[in-house]
Symmetry: C2
Subunit: 203 residues, 2 copies
């Protein structure tokens, strides 16, 4: 691509302005705190992005806790990878599968309570710097756990603890309490074209 | 939560129906292929979800390639974690930073070309099963690379290679060619409340 000297200058001036604006914006952010992060929406990537955060935190030397409220698809690929960090990860898979798997509401409620008790324990452990509550939104959506109680506990987190909550249909009370909320919105999905779940991608 | 036997039965029947529908849907997906996945949108989680996929693929024993078209924020946390898998990851950071950092379009184009050449090499390496082209969408958006050429090469990928492309403003031609496209839509961001980027979360 050939450009004239004048074009190059104009481009340079424009980009210099943009950089100045960006630098000023970054300089304006001064508060440090443990974040409450929510990944919701019908698209892919909610739990996957949480595990990306886990990878980053591990690289930083953080100790990380994971509590799975759903059965999840996370037993295999991620767990093998996580085995390389035995002293840094505490992982509890306490969901019994989604409610359409168990077909027993009383059991679902008991499983959610067990998982929540474990989450509270990890929140109280000062060594843990990142806590992933995978599919907690599902337990809240079906009222297996009381949303007011859960949100109050999340808001009372230590200032040096980041928490990530995943799952569709995040409750408005949780969104209100969160620092960062992203909706993973499906644009296109290969399942619609008859393509099956792929090893190493979906599980 | 107390429920009557009748309520429990009704719940059970409803969930059994849902499970049957779900199982039938899964059984209908039979095609295996390497997926072209796009993470776009203005929200967080595009690259992070790609690195979550990387973690899963590593756990499955796959060899993975990463080419960074932008400078990215990925040098630190993730790279330290990746060091635990020295034989499984090939990583090239070939971006020179975004165009508002370099302020030099000719240099941006040259950097994008170098990164794309490396991407083509990795696509041709039969050992690589997952290839992450981080921030490629930015290079396409600013026409540092020709979209028709890039999309044609991505479509000609091996059937056992999954490719993930990240970055805002995915071009329509790429969305059209992709199997799975997710838009990470920001709902709420702590930067808006003056909170700064946090170690182990944003970098």
């Amino acid at each position: 691509m050939v450009e004239t000297a004048q074009e190059a200058e104009r481009h340079k001036a424009k980009m210099a302005n943009r950089k100045a604006a960006q630098d000023a914006e970054v300089a304006g952010k001064t508060i440090e705190k443990g974040l409450l992060i929510v990944h919701t929406g019908k698209g892919k990537g909610k739990s996957t992005a949480a595990f990306g955060l886990l990878l980053r935190a591990l690289g930083r030397g953080f100790k990380v806790g994971v509590v799975q409220f759903g059965k999840g698809a996370w037993d295999t690929g991620e767990r093998h990878a996580i085995d390389r960090f035995p002293d840094q990860v505490v992982w509890y898979a306490l969901g019994e599968g989604f409610t359409w798997e168990t077909q027993d509401r009383t059991r679902d409620v008991a499983a959610a309570e067990r998982a929540w008790t474990k989450a509270e324990e990890l929140m109280a452990d000062p060594a843990i710097r990142l806590l992933i509550l995978d599919e907690l939104n599902i337990s809240l959506r079906y009222d297996h756990l009381d949303v007011a109680r859960v949100v109050a506990a999340l808001q009372a987190r230590r200032p040096d603890l980041h928490i990530v909550v995943t799952g569709r249909n995040a409750k408005p009370e949780l969104v209100e309490a969160a620092d960062l909320v992203t909706d993973m919105t499906p644009v296109k999905h290969h399942f619609d074209a008859g393509v099956k779940a792929q090893e190493g991608i979906e599980y």
